[in-house]
């Protein structure tokens, strides 16, 4: 750590970690409702509310992580202190307050009712203000020295795109098909656009610092990778436009472009492994290294392979709206984004605390727990989804009867989720220990 204001990141990371833990609690509750038909919480916390909280916490903790990561990286890249520490802290408090209000609101039935964008409109405007403060602070910091590194440029571009796309999810539309058309501009162009830019830049920075490889090499590949991500991902939005009232040419455009979406992710894996092999310094932080390499691999399988498996319309017509999507969703979000943040935590925390060495055994253990049990979660939900697609869609069995045949896989899924939760608990204990450690 070279700049005092990088410490801002610490509070962002802490909130992110707490919300991550809470997300898992609501995940376990939501999952239990699949395993048992009898739901004692049906009138207090029905499935829709607990799912809304589970997925909102996911997005919010990831965003806290990205923001913290940005506050950590930008001073080093721009070689100056953050423009305003006060604004950064205000932004943190405002965002946290909006988050708490949203979740309490869901519990009381205050919702806007579109998945992931359940936040009532007034809170969405609050989120826009948070984003504007954040962008302003980051932009002004970069303008102080005007050192336009590729990492900074891609990071800023990604953040601007992230904030800009959110605007398409704010307004109520009379036509449901239109509403979903624009909804995907937020959801898809976030996860297969803006977020890839942000995380690509963060990962490039971390790999460069961890391995000591030349900046030029890292930045060259960053350009190529995010270029291909956007090339395939933007038109690839079309794989969500197969069945929602949009014209049928999307079956071609969406199918072909999204079929190539795994390609840039494969490049990232190769690139990461090469950079690690050609490292110019020893990497004492094995936990951060495990998460970084693991992230590349799990990103490829979760987003790339699992996505490719049902992206072609010939297959998607059977699997669309089944647990196959839930399997892909869990695997991809974890591999691409949760793991990126976990890498960031382990990369930055020791430096923020001024530690040269730290006990890594619990961190490594939690890495293996989370990764292997997420693999089982993806597998069991995937099998449940295949059973569902076959019985319900191919054989024409009704929805609820089909669910009975999926019960076994829901049980495997739920037990695996407890294994994953054990990994998260280990991580939280380790994180707490690191956060309190003194050099």
């Amino acid at each position: 750590m070279k700049y005092e204001s990088q410490k801002i990141a610490m509070n962002y990371f802490m909130i992110a970690a707490v919300l991550f833990g809470l997300q898992i609690v609501f995940g376990l509750i939501t999952g239990a409702k699949y395993v048992w038909d009898f739901d004692p919480l049906i009138n207090i916390l029905p499935f829709n509310t607990s799912r809304a909280i589970h997925i909102n916490l996911l997005v919010v903790w990831l965003l806290f992580g990205f923001m913290g990561g940005t506050y950590y990286i930008v001073p080093e890249e721009a070689q100056t202190e953050i423009y305003s520490k006060k604004l950064a802290n205000f932004q943190l408090v405002l965002f946290a307050l909006i988050g708490v209000t949203a979740i309490v609101g869901y519990l009381l039935g205050w919702t806007w009712g579109m998945p992931f964008l359940e936040q009532p409109t007034v809170l969405k405007f609050g989120i826009v203000i948070v984003a504007l403060i954040f962008l302003f602070n980051i932009f002004m910091t970069m303008m102080k020295t005007k050192k336009w590194t590729v990492i900074q440029g891609v990071l800023l571009g990604g953040l601007v795109m992230l904030a800009g796309m959110f605007l398409f999810g704010i307004f109520f539309m009379k036509n449901l098909a239109d509403q979903y058309f624009w909804w995907w501009w937020v959801i898809h162009l976030w996860v297969e656009g803006a977020w890839e830019l942000v995380t690509g830049a963060i990962m490039a920075f971390m790999l460069m610092k961890l391995t000591g490889v030349d900046r030029e090499l890292v930045e060259k590949w960053l350009y190529v990778e995010v270029g291909l991500v956007l090339f395939t991902g933007i038109v690839g939005t079309g794989h969500h436009y197969y069945w929602i009232g949009t014209p049928n040419y999307w079956l071609w455009w969406g199918g072909i472009f999204s079929a190539f979406e795994p390609l840039p992710i494969l490049f990232m894996v190769i690139d990461t492994l090469r950079v690690v092999r050609e490292r110019k310094t020893e990497i004492p932080n094995r936990v951060a290294l495990s998460w970084a390499v693991g992230c590349a691999v799990m990103h490829f399988f979760g987003a790339g392979v699992w996505g490719f498996a049902h992206t072609l319309p010939q297959i998607n017509q059977w699997t669309h709206g089944t647990q196959v999507t839930a399997s892909h969703g869990h695997f991809a979000f974890f591999g691409a984004y949760a793991m990126l943040n976990l890498t960031m935590f382990y990369f930055a925390m020791p430096q923020l605390r001024g530690l040269t060495t730290f006990n890594q055994s619990l961190g490594v253990k939690s890495f293996w727990f989370m990764c292997s049990f997420m693999g089982l979660i993806a597998l069991s939900l995937g099998i449940a989804g295949i059973v569902q697609a076959y019985f319900q869609r191919v054989l024409g069995m009704d929805y609820l009867t089909t669910q009975e045949y999926m019960k076994l896989w829901y049980a495997v899924f739920w037990v695996s989720a407890w294994g994953f939760a054990a990994g998260v608990v280990m991580f939280l204990m380790d994180f707490y220990r690191l956060a309190r450690a003194r050099s």
Binding site: A177, F181, M397, D398, T401
Partner: protein, 223 residues
């Protein structure tokens, strides 16, 4: 590869893809009013859409295949259920569907229920490129008799098993025709308490005589 070439890949990749995407998006938005029958989108449908959102239905049910996977997709629900059934269901889900996984009673106002039915009826008319696809096997083995259609539309399988499919609240109907004749079944449909005063089966006397006839024919033929 040089850095400037990498930069060119980034810029051109983004620009080309964005240009294609924006053009196709524009064209889609031009075509969608017709594909979604926007002329039928009246104030009831809009009100129903808001009811759908207000109660966060979408985090349990998928619609257009998007949302929670906890409850059935409702995109084409009005092709298999009539408005009367949906109304009855929404007023008291557990009474109509006592078996298995439950939907909470949302205590909807009559107007809200009517609006949701209008909304779902409109959604049913959206051209979804034939999604969800017709089952490959069921279409081949079902008789396609009018009674079978009534059986499905009324959701009899919520309580009754038929060839291994359905609930276990009421008796298995797979071979009911071997035990009961058409007249008995008709009487049962109109007034379930006529055979057993303690029966919890709801009466279907509100169905038209033709529907009752078709349904009784169909069931009496199951041997």
């Amino acid at each position: 590869m040089t850095l400037s070439r990498a930069k060119a890949i980034f810029i051109w990749g983004t620009v080309i893809s964005a240009a294609i995407f924006l053009y196709l998006s524009y064209d889609s938005l031009v075509q969608m009013p017709k594909r979604t029958q926007e002329e039928k989108l009246d104030s009831h449908v809009v009100a129903g859409k808001w009811v759908w959102q207000k109660y966060n239905c979408n985090d349990c049910h998928t619609i257009l295949g998007i949302g929670g996977y906890y409850a059935p997709d409702v995109t084409k629900v009005m092709s298999t259920r009539d408005g009367e059934w949906v109304t009855r269901f929404l007023k008291d889900p557990e009474k109509v569907w006592p078996n298995a996984r439950k939907m909470p009673n949302l205590h909807l106002q009559d107007q809200e229920v009517a609006d949701v039915v209008a909304f779902l009826t409109w959604v049913n008319g959206i051209n979804t490129n034939n999604w969800p696809p017709k089952p490959l096997v069921a279409t081949a083995v079902t008789s396609g008799s009018p009674g079978e259609t009534v059986y499905k539309a009324q959701g009899c399988s919520a309580c009754h098993l038929l060839n291994g499919v359905g609930g276990k609240v009421g008796p298995d109907l797979s071979r009911v025709g071997g035990k009961r004749d058409k007249a008995w079944i008709e009487a049962q449909l109109k007034n379930p308490k006529s055979h057993n005063p303690n029966s919890i089966m709801p009466s279907f006397s509100r169905l038209s005589q033709k529907d009752i006839d078709d349904l009784a024919d169909y069931l009496a033929g199951l041997r």
